[in-house]
Symmetry: C2
Subunit: 505 residues, 2 copies
């Protein structure tokens, strides 16, 4: 039998090859989303297709399967016991099982289906034409149910997908979560509409030139704790972040000259994602443990910086100082309280990506409720527009004027991502549970925000979340960080307290 | 025996794999030179090292060698006769022979030596410390002589390297070329120093903000004929261009707020390189024929746009109009004649990269003369500072105050690039020979420049140079485009006429 040293060296060699392809894929994606010329798309597509094919082949080859089997046996026999190596074996074996789950014909058919669906969706959204997209949704849901059977024939298909996007979650857990959100947030939103006064904030739409916003963005990244030697600022249509490697995680933003705060909160949000990727244990470099563990945990980092810290009353002190530095003519006459009210305006709206902190989870709930019904066979695609209208009225109190602003607004379903949306809501809910855990660790979040120095907060996040990379699953991280399993109560209490106070309810 | 169709399909499969790695290498390089954060260098180095290793292995594997042998046999037997496929086989076979020429130990030792030399050179340049770098130069020259023996034992080593950088050139040809340049340019430079009057041009150092220069750069790329859907503008320390694929060639510039024309001519120069890469026959996509054929031909494209067209009197009309659009306060009072004189100031200087069109080839001559002596055993590294001083005095009439501004100024030798410099001078010399050929084809270069529409000029370059990619060597291109072999007379005449007139000699 091979020694632990020899096995580990073979493991790392395979991981290195996989890592190279993942790294290059990210570079190509980043390039495509930021600066690449339009006419280079075909070449990039070819190169990325080749990379993806090689990655899949490396991960699922007979040699790789034999190696993983040998590694798992060595772990089971206690012959491989280094904690990092054990975590690598667990993660790599899972990646391999998932990559092998579907027969090649299914993978190819799926790629064709979603590619076609995506093109149809783009047109349907522009033309407000649900009917043309409808058959794709049914076909995608049917296919996903079948695929779930390959992956775990003994489990409910929607649960299989929910677990794919967030390990340890299932419909029962989400039902409890969204039940609590529904009970707290829906009445709160209605109360604000009936009894709350919306602040006047003309500065929100004041003109701030591109050059000033660019310069500001770097200072903002520093303010939330990024080291500029680890990151960069790129420009793109839809802001995103991408972790490339130890020492390299990027922020891409979009500047609107008449909406400075859109850029401010995009940068802070993406800086949160980047901080997570940069905080992973450097010993995990070039292994399968690099990167973030789940969508929900990733979103919990971006939203923590954006909302929990970034939209707190305390953070208005350094934020206003920064805004005054780069847009003095606009912000000289604005007070911290006015800024605080303005960045926390809660108001029902139709489009998820523009929703505020309070109403955001209601947008997710609409999608979750519909996905649940589709997978349960209680609805088909033709029912979606009516269901969308019904839930939007019920949760947000709004009428849906058309499908473009309704059930056609998001790209996720056309790409086959069912079970993905709920993780967006989960992120903020995790955040609310981190705060008391930080307090117990002696960290004064408000003081750190007010001082414009998030060092202690970042240290806690690094210790409890970031450093573990993909080495721990979401549920393990929450248990470790908060001393208890995920509990939505913290989130509901946080929203109720913050917004009751803001709107004097 | 395999059919032509089957052989071609195996050829293209190998080329596709090589192409993917070349493309990704360029993306990673471009990313590193433009936006990548400092701390991501190690990861990028790992990924690029892996790519280079895979590329070398793919190109030189037993399978690839057998395939190339089979292809060459099929071409020789007339069984493979499609002209493009024949050109691919010729080029790929040459790439393969060169990649296989050196034993692995030599490749590794070379990589270590140049890596170390580069680090030492950086320090030596900053510290004006030739002595510390000196032993590396001797070791590098010795190694290059040995390597040349692996590549072609029957040829003079310096000729082997000159041919590597520009197919068909050797020391005898360069001696003739530089002999002619010496006879024409040295007296001309001396005459300007003695009898010429330098123009006053305070606008050269006027402040033009970064944002205005960025906006201007896009219009400038369009002015010289680039389609913005094929390119992009990035920012970097040393301007460069990189051709990625059909439909994708990038320009990277550097903006100095008090030197607008530096950015102007960097953008035009790099746009010339990009135009070449973009003009390659689209049927060559993903084959070894993509890209430019040689350094000299590539430089002839960038310098054609920068100098032949871009610094012509006629081009001042659209250029001044553009400068007035983006810096009206600076250029409103400048005339076309004043601009023409200013962008053509010829004055001896110490640093090659800052040299003007006339004195530039003298900088190259200094380096060529020294390289020639080193390879001939007529000098060793310890003689270089004195030789540098001697040739600088002789050609440029200047004293060299220190080695930082003398023989330590360029990075090429530390990277092992001996035989590379002469191609820089060759580019402009090719240009001077293109002009009468264009005229014979009925193209009025001055009219095109004055009109700010280079379409006919670009069409000629595309037809005669660009479309051939790597499918023809430099000497074949010159013969085809100009109806005669390379002849330095055109270049000497061009410089003599232009600068005698400018300085009224």
């Amino acid at each position: 039998m091979a020694s632990a040293v020899e096995l580990t060296s073979r493991l790392r060699a395979l991981e290195g090859k996989l890592w190279t392809r993942e790294y290059l894929m990210k570079i190509a994606e980043f390039d495509g989303a930021t600066i690449a010329p339009e006419n280079g798309a075909a070449a990039r597509g070819d190169a990325m297709g080749a990379l993806a094919g090689e990655h899949h082949e490396l991960l699922t080859s007979a040699d790789a399967c034999a190696l993983v089997a040998e590694l798992e046996a060595a772990v089971a026999a206690g012959e491989l016991s280094d904690p990092q190596a054990v975590a690598e074996v667990r993660t790599l074996a899972r990646d391999q099982r998932e990559a092998r789950a579907l027969p090649t014909e299914e993978v190819e058919a799926w790629s064709r289906l979603t590619c076609e669906a995506d093109a149809v969706w783009h047109k349907a959204k522009n033309a407000n034409d649900w009917a043309s997209f409808e058959p794709y949704v049914d076909r995608i849901v049917e296919t996903l149910k079948r695929h779930a059977g390959y992956m775990d024939p003994n489990r409910d298909p929607y649960d299989v997908w929910l677990d794919q996007y967030e390990r340890g979650m299932d419909a029962a857990a989400y039902d409890r979560f969204f039940g609590a959100v529904r009970e707290t947030v829906v009445p709160l939103v209605h109360a604000i509409g009936e009894r709350g006064t919306q602040p006047e904030a003309p500065f929100l739409t004041a003109h701030v030139p591109d050059a000033a916003q660019r310069a500001m963005s770097f200072d903002l990244m520093k303010l939330v704790g990024l080291d500029l030697a680890d990151t960069c600022l790129a420009f793109t249509e839809h802001p995103f972040s991408e972790g490339f490697a130890v020492g390299d995680a990027r922020v891409a933003t979009h500047i609107y000259e008449d909406n400075l705060l859109s850029n401010v909160y995009s940068v802070i949000h993406e800086a949160g994602h980047a901080s997570y990727e940069l905080g992973v244990n450097p010993a995990y470099a070039r292994t399968c443990l690099e990167g973030g563990t789940s969508l929900g945990i990733h979103e919990s980092q971006s939203r923590f910086f954006e909302n929990t810290a970034g939209r707190s009353r305390a953070f208005m002190t350094p934020l206003l100082a920064l805004l005054r530095r780069y847009a003095p003519e606009v912000y000289a006459g604005v007070s911290e309280d006015e800024l605080y009210r303005a960045v926390n305006i809660a108001q029902p709206s139709l489009v998820r990506t523009e929703a505020d902190e309070l109403t955001y989870p209601l947008h997710i709930m609409i999608r979750y409720d519909i996905e649940r019904m589709l997978f349960a066979g209680e609805a088909t695609a033709k029912d979606i527009p009516a269901l969308w209208a019904k839930f939007t009225k019920q949760y947000l109190g709004l009428d849906v004027p058309n499908d473009t602003l309704g059930c056609l607004q998001d790209t996720h379903w056309s790409g086959g991502s069912f079970g993905y949306f709920p993780t967006y809501a989960l992120g903020s809910a995790y955040d609310a549970q981190y705060v008391p855990a930080m307090e117990r660790a002696g960290i004064d979040l408000d003081a750190a925000c007010a001082a414009g120095d998030l060092t202690p907060v970042r240290a806690w996040l690094r210790e409890n979340i970031w450093q573990w990379g993909r080495g721990k699953d979401a549920d393990e991280l929450i248990q470790g960080a908060c001393g208890a399993p995920f509990d939505a109560t913290f989130y509901c209490d946080y929203l109720a307290t913050k917004f009751s106070e803001l709107y004097q309810l």
